[in-house]
Structure formats: C-alpha cells, structure tokens
C-alpha cells in the first residue's frame, strides 16, 4: 500500500469497508417472506397485461393529450404568472404527455346520502359525520381510541395507507416478545393521518392499525374506517405488549374512500404528495479546508388542509417546511384547474401566511390537474419537473434545490412548522427541534385542554438576561450571529391556564445537520 496515492488508498479503504459489510447471506426468514409475496400481496389490476384494458386506457389518453395540446396552444406566451401582481391568470402547463394513474372510477356513496357538495367536511375533504355518526379525525381519533374503555367501534377518518404500498415491515416494531397474529400489524399504517403527508411520514409513536384483511383502493387515500381498540384478544398479549395491543386500531370496516369532491384525476391527492416529496433540497457546506458536507432539508413535515371557497378544490393544502412553497391544490380534473384559474383570484382568495418571509416572486405551477404556489424561478422549475414525473416510477431523477439564502430570516417560518406539526400529532417531526421535544403525553395534555391552536406574537431580539444559562452555551457554539429571534406564543382556546403561554427562540445553525434553523422552547 505504500506506493498508493492518497486517492487510491481512499478508494481501497472504501472498497474494503463495503466488502466487509456485505460478507453476509440473506436469512432463511427473508427467503421465506419473499417466497410468500405472491400469495400475500395481490398484484394490482392496473399492472395487468389485459389488452382490452390497455385499449380502453389508450383512447382517453389520446383524447387527453389532444385536450392538453389545445390548452397549451391557448396558453402560449403566458406560462408563468405572478399572482401577487395580477388577478386572473394562467399557469405554466406541463407538456408531459403520459397520463398518471387514474383515480378509481367506482362511484362511492356520499356519507350523508345527499350530494357530495352538501357534506359537512373537515378541511381537506374528510367528512365530519358518516350516516349520522361522528368521524374522529387523525390525532383526535387516536386520543378517542385511547380513552375508550372497551371495544365499542367508532369511526376514524384521515389519509391512510393500508400497508400494501408503504415501507413498513414487521421489523418496524420490536416488542421483544411474541404477540397474537391480530396485533402483528406488519405493514399496517399508523394512526394520526389528518393530512395526506402524515400518512407516509408519521412513525409508530402514535400507534398502529391492523387492517385485518381490509384494504383501500390503490392502497392509499382518504378514508373513513370503522375501528375498535381494546380488542378482547389483547388479553392474549404478554405483560410487555398488552398496552400496545389494547391501543391498536383494529379495522372492522372501510366505510368511505372518497367521493366526487375528493377524487382527482389524473393526479390524485396522495400521488401529488408523493411527487412533491421527491424534491431534494440539498446543499454542500464547507467543513474546513476544501472539504464539504452535504446537508439535506426535509420539507413538508405537514400538509395543512385549508378551507378556501370554490372554485378552490376541497383538496387544498398549505405546504410547510420551506418558505419557497405556498399552496398545493389538487383539482378534480385538469379542465377544472384551467377553468378555476380564469375565475379565482390567485393572489388572495386562499391566502398563505403573509408573515413568512419568501425568497422570490410568487409563481403558480400548473401540471395536469394540480396547481402549486412556489416562490422563485428555481423553485417553480423544480416543482414543474417533479410534478411532471411519475412519483412512483423507478429510477426517477430527483429535482434538486439549494437551500434558501442564509440571509433569509426563517425564524417565524420554522416556528410555524413546528407548531403545525405538533398540532397534527406529528410528534417525531416536532421533536426534531432541539429543546422542544414534545412528549406524546404532553401533546395529549394539550389536546385535552384545547391548547394546540396558537397565535404567534411579534419577533423580538432577546436580551441575554432573558435567556437561561443552559441556552446561552448552545447559542454561542451553534447560532449564526444575528439570527436569534424570540416569540411569545399564546394558545387562546386553552382551558388550562398553565398551557396558555409558551416562549420560543429560533436561530440559524452555523453547521446545519438536518435543518438549517432550529426552534427551542424555553421553560414556561
């Protein structure tokens, strides 16, 4: 090795390391699990080699392309709009010719038996009642299930994955002792999905759902399911796992999987979310000498459903996690999106948080039936590229964005991301913010006291005397000078005065690891 150059040596060491890590064989258990796949995982219909189905699909595809060409012809010269300047506008339209996966054409009855438009819904489109029975949403459903004393069924609503498309395996939980088959969730999805993103990102901290043979069309989507907790079979669980078994949601019935107000084509809500999530925000930061360290920002901790008047679609969401993203609106059809652009005031009828400092001009990106509000040319380009690609396609390139400029004050934005994630029950995302690690117990207490809605006061620059000694040390070593801000947060609906007020500081990190800004909650 003595004759090696430094680079050759580095390559050899890396090769040796990788070789030593791969001196392994797949276990017999893995082989058995893979052999069982064809019998345990049905092949989706849309992937079949049924030529008659293909022909039926090709005709509307050609028609769709023709419509797209006609629309493009109408929109030439007006590809991008700046909604903050003008009212009625058009957006850039994707030239992608391939239609995405179509939504299920199966008509689904509306929850109340009336028209889909008359249904009382939570923001985002999940019905508040079904057949006169209350639907508990997301985090609220989780709390309700915990508070139950027996196995009485109730309705839980939200965005779910039934496990057939999720990355979650039997290895996702390690309980240390065997449990009855009913409670081996395998690829069951997590509870707490009150937004479409949460359905994929929430870890197991809130609990799991055993689908017990039930499934969703396409594996994912908005749904209302009848579930129960405290299943009598939980008595068979060991002492170490009995509380886990009791709290698990066992699905009795899938009662609603969307209606004409929530269905969208060719890009469904969950597909739109999956595509956006392929955006890669990454920056190489200097770490001394000529070396750099690549850092990624993880965007979209929460898609916050918004209630905006028609023609905004029911599926309209506030994008969280990076100030260069504003809204995501998934229209039922591309025609509906194009028609809506001509009539809605894109600059204010569905407002974004005006206190978030944005780094560029607002631009609307329209791709098929989806509209995204982005800020800055680079962001708009990246959104267009990622939305035009099939989110599920194999080997799709990942459009990439640098971080926003470090001069951008993101303190308020990051605080809102934290508070929104916590309010959605997205505890693990929220706990990424150092010093603010909300425990599930604490958030449950806040939920019970109605102390999760919030009003953020003005930003101030704190005096040294206002900060505890323990925080000052971290600030000196971590904070980029001049970026420190303090916010008083009030929870006006709180029934517990002790939970009414909180104080947070935010600052930009000198050496980012996951996020470039950090939120710290000071002791009340």
């Amino acid at each position: 090795m003595s004759g090696e150059t430094n680079d050759e040596r580095l390559r050899n060491v890396a090769r040796q390391h990788l070789a030593s890590m791969t001196d392994i064989e797949p276990s017999a258990e893995l082989r058995a699990r893979i052999e069982a796949i064809p019998s345990t995982h049905p092949m989706p219909d849309h992937g079949g080699r049924d030529d008659s189905r293909r022909l039926r699909f090709v005709v509307p595809a050609i028609a769709g392309i023709a419509v797209a060409i006609a629309i493009c012809a109408l929109l030439v010269g007006a590809l991008v709009v700046r909604p903050s300047v003008v009212g009625p506008s058009v957006s850039r339209t994707s030239t992608a010719s391939a239609l995405g996966p179509s939504a299920s054409p199966t008509p689904v009855p509306s929850p109340s038996g009336g028209s889909a438009q008359s249904v009382d819904r939570y923001p985002g489109g999940i019905p508040k009642t079904y057949g006169g029975e209350r639907v508990y949403l997301g985090f609220g459903a989780f709390i309700h299930g915990q508070q139950m004393a027996d196995a009485t069924p109730f309705l839980a609503g939200g965005w779910f994955g039934d496990g057939s498309r999720e990355v979650c395996t039997g290895g996702a939980i390690q309980l240390g002792s065997p449990i009855p088959a009913t409670f081996q969730h395998g690829c069951g999805s997590v509870i707490g999905a009150d937004s479409p993103w949460a359905a994929y990102s929430l870890p197991a901290s809130l609990g799991w759902i055993a689908w017990d043979g039930h499934s969703l069309p396409g594996g994912r989507g908005p749904a209302v399911i009848r579930v129960h907790t405290h299943d009598p079979r939980s008595a068979e669980c060991s002492a170490a796992t009995v509380s886990y078994c009791r709290e698990m949601f066992i699905v009795d019935e899938v009662v609603w999987t969307g209606d004409s107000a929530t269905e969208a084509s060719p890009i469904g809500v969950t597909e739109a979310v999956a595509r956006l999530d392929r955006l890669n925000i990454e920056e190489s930061l200097p770490i001394g000498g000529t070396a750099t360290l690549a850092v990624q920002r993880h965007i979209f901790p929460t898609f916050r459903p918004q209630t905006c008047a028609a023609p905004w679609p029911v599926a309209t969401f506030d994008l969280q996690g990076d100030p260069r993203f504003g809204l995501l609106a998934v229209f039922p059809t591309q025609t509906a999106r194009v028609e809506a652009e001509g009539t809605i005031a894109l600059d204010g009828s569905c407002p974004v948080d005006s206190r978030i400092v944005r780094p560029g001009a607002a631009k609307w990106v329209g791709v098929q039936n989806v509209l995204v509000l982005a800020y800055g040319d680079d962001t708009a380009d990246a959104v267009e590229a990622v939305m035009a690609s099939q989110g599920d396609a194999v080997g799709v390139d990942t459009p990439q964005l640098d971080f926003p400029p470090s001069s951008l004050d993101e303190s308020y934005a990051f605080l809102t991301y934290y508070l929104a994630a916590r309010a959605a029950g997205n505890i693990d995302t929220a706990s990424r913010y150092a010093g603010s690690s909300s425990s599930l117990d604490e958030v449950e207490g806040r939920y019970a006291a109605n102390a999760l809605t919030y009003v953020i006061g003005p930003a101030t620059v704190p005096e040294q005397s206002q900060l505890p000694f323990s925080v000052l040390g971290s600030l000196q070593s971590e904070a980029l000078p001049g970026t420190l801000r303090m916010f008083e947060v009030t929870h006006p609906d709180s029934t517990d005065t002790a939970l009414r007020d909180e104080t947070f500081i935010c600052y930009e990190l000198k050496n980012p690891q996951i996020d470039s800004w950090i939120v710290v909650r000071l002791a009340p």
């Binding site: 070789a19 796949i37 992937g47 079949g48 290895g171 690549a294 990624q296 396609a393």
Partner: protein, 190 residues
C-alpha cells in the same frame, strides 16, 4: 450459464401469457436466484444488514406489484436493482426524518479487516463519513465502489442524469477524503 438464463427467459416469457400462478412462479425463481446479491447491495447502501432485510423484502413486494412493467427478463437484475435503490433511498431519507440526530446508527461494524496496511481508525472514519453522506451521494458511492459501475452505468441504474451522478460522486468523494485526511493528520501527530 448463458443457456440456463435463456431457458429461464423462455420459461418466463411463456408464462407471462398465462395466469397469475405462473407469474408468481417466475417471480419466485428470478428473485430467489438474485436474492443474495440484491440483499448485499441493500446492506452496502444502508450500512445495516438487519434493515437491509426489510428493504429487500419491501423492494420485492414492489417488484411483484410492478411485475408487468418488466419488459425484458434479461434485464431483471438491473430492473430490480433500480427498485431496490429507490427503496434504500426512501429508507435513508426516512431515517433522517425520524431518527434523533444524536442517536448512533448500528451496523457499522468494522470486522473482517484483511489489509494490515489499513488502520481501524481509517476504516472507522470512512464508515462515519459514509454515514454523513446524503442518501443520493451514498448510493452513487456504493454503486461505484461496490458494484464497480461507471458513471454512465450508475446514471442508467438510478435514472439520474450523467452530470448529476458526477457531481454527487465528486462531493461524496470530497467528504470521504476529508475524513481520511483528518485521520492521517491525527496519526501523524501521534
């Protein structure tokens, strides 16, 4: 070997026109034959043999669900690798999302050293530097150093543009170089 592969291809092609039982049989045969190499690739990317089992299983589920998109059975391994790489990337990204920053990762055992000229400190530094790479950079590094793929092959295997592969490899190599230099400086000082 080649003849065996052709026979298998013929078997698969014939069976694709039959029912799902035949497809399941073909899927099982092809997957089983390549399972070890696919599993090792996942372990190299993830740095964790236990997690690699989960990801290999998940990739197999996804491959089964997309079985009809496999047009050329002779390209089965490359096709499956693309699915596996995507699963690994998603898992690495998810790992960053939900794992506490301070929580150490497992699976970075530095056993099996065969080259006495390589110090454990150097290997550890490289292992840690690999952990610090972004998922996308790590995948490019593993495909190059472990599978010996060149930039064009990596681009084909991942769906990335050639320029993107090159820039990711450049930045990843810089990070590894910095780690190795730090060890060399430390060893020189002692």
């Amino acid at each position: 070997m080649i003849q065996g592969t052709r026979q298998l291809e013929g078997f698969v092609r014939m069976n694709q026109e039959r029912g799902s039982a035949a497809r399941a049989d073909a899927f099982g045969r092809l997957t089983s034959a390549r399972l070890a190499s696919l599993y090792r690739l996942a372990a190299a990317i993830l740095g964790d043999p236990v997690e690699a089992e989960d990801v290999t299983h998940d990739a197999a589920v996804r491959a089964w669900q997309r079985w009809d998109s496999l047009r050329d059975v002779g390209r089965f391994e490359a096709w499956f690798q693309r699915i596996l790489i995507n699963e690994c990337r998603d898992r690495l990204r998810q790992r960053h999302k939900v794992v506490d920053v301070a929580q150490p990762r497992t699976g970075l055992a530095v056993s099996g050293l065969s080259d006495p000229g390589t110090s454990v400190a150097e290997r550890l530094a490289i292992a840690e530097a690999l952990e610090m790479l972004t998922p996308e950079q790590r995948i490019v590094i593993v495909l190059h150093f472990y599978l010996d793929l060149d930039a064009e092959e990596i681009a084909a295997r991942t769906g990335l543009r050639l320029g993107t592969v090159k820039s990711r490899f450049h930045y990843a190599l810089q990070a590894l170089r910095a780690a190795a230099d730090a060890v060399a400086r430390a060893e020189g000082a002692t």
